[in-house]
Symmetry: C2
Subunit: 153 residues, 2 copies
DNA sequence: CGTATATAGTTAGCAAAGGTAATGAGACAT
DNA sequence: ATGTCTCATTACCTTTGCTAACTATATACG
């Protein structure tokens, strides 16, 4: 019979690499679900927003580069781009020299949406962050950079 | 015309709460995609594994509690439970006092799978972690606890 | 030159995972 | 005992990702 063995929270045995990896994975998944749920209240989905922001960062980017950026396969990006294009938030133009390729740029509407959305974009997370101590925020700042590095490999 | 305005990497203006929130959100999404892709190579999906682990932690848990734990709606958990049940990894038994409810527990097979899987579970992440400096790992350890706190709200 | 290969984007089709709304069985309060 | 509430489940839809196949263009080389 299972009489609730002395188990601990996911954050428990953080000492080992494996333990840290386990805790991170579970926590990241849960946090992501939370964030995604928050994002669903916006006009765009989380993925669309992230892609739109990426296009803003790298104007005249190609779908292929975008896919690589977002760690996604090209077909996945194609769908997102199509959705954004339909709403007039980005524009596809022919590549200057290679006619196989396409370049994607943010439109005025896209910029406006980004700007307007950006204010309330991370409302939930920012709200939670406010409740943290300065020390905790410092940790998260450092962690964000490390995690970004991890995600890029 | 969009001539690539002076934009920076997502990890850029981390100073403000909003900037930190933004960077975290994008990074978490990307890392999660990475992890999910890795998890697809296992016998269970990421969600199934996470749920199985949660059941292990809280033996004789009800689906409702499980859904709350995982920050998911009850129907979503029902599907995962059904899948795990089909494979004999968990067992559903009637609730001792309330016959509407169900209690879920890990079976021997589930325990074995968890144990066996746990070793290679976070292989990708653990591998990446090994490449970090001790200081970076310390930061992540602290961050994991903070993020877990955030995800629980 | 002209054919063969490589590459970029897209399309088609599939699976995972989440959500909401509706349903059914049981608990419980009046 | 009847009406209301709660828990789990079912049915159905959406989003997002993937792989494989297709199209058009570029490029290498015989």
């Amino acid at each position: 019979m299972l009489t609730n063995p002395p188990k601990m929270s996911p954050a428990a045995n953080l000492r080992s690499d494996a333990g840290l990896a386990s805790a991170l994975r579970v926590t990241l998944a849960r946090l992501n679900r939370r964030l995604r749920r928050q994002a669903a209240k916006h006009s765009l989905t989380a993925t669309q927003l992230a892609t739109l922001a990426a296009v803003e960062r790298h104007s005249a980017i190609t779908p292929g580069e975008l896919a690589e950026q977002e760690k996604v396969q090209p077909p996945s990006i194609t769908r997102v781009i199509a959705a954004l294009d339909e709403r007039g938030l980005i524009a596809r133009s022919p590549h200057p020299t290679d006619r196989r390729q396409v370049t994607v740029s943010v439109t005025e509407a896209g910029l406006a949406l980004l700007k307007e959305e950006r204010r309330r974009k991370e409302a939930w997370l920012a709200q939670r962050l406010k409740e943290l101590t300065p020390e905790e925020k410092t940790v998260l700042r450092q962690a964000a950079q490390i995690l970004e590095k991890l995600s890029k490999i």
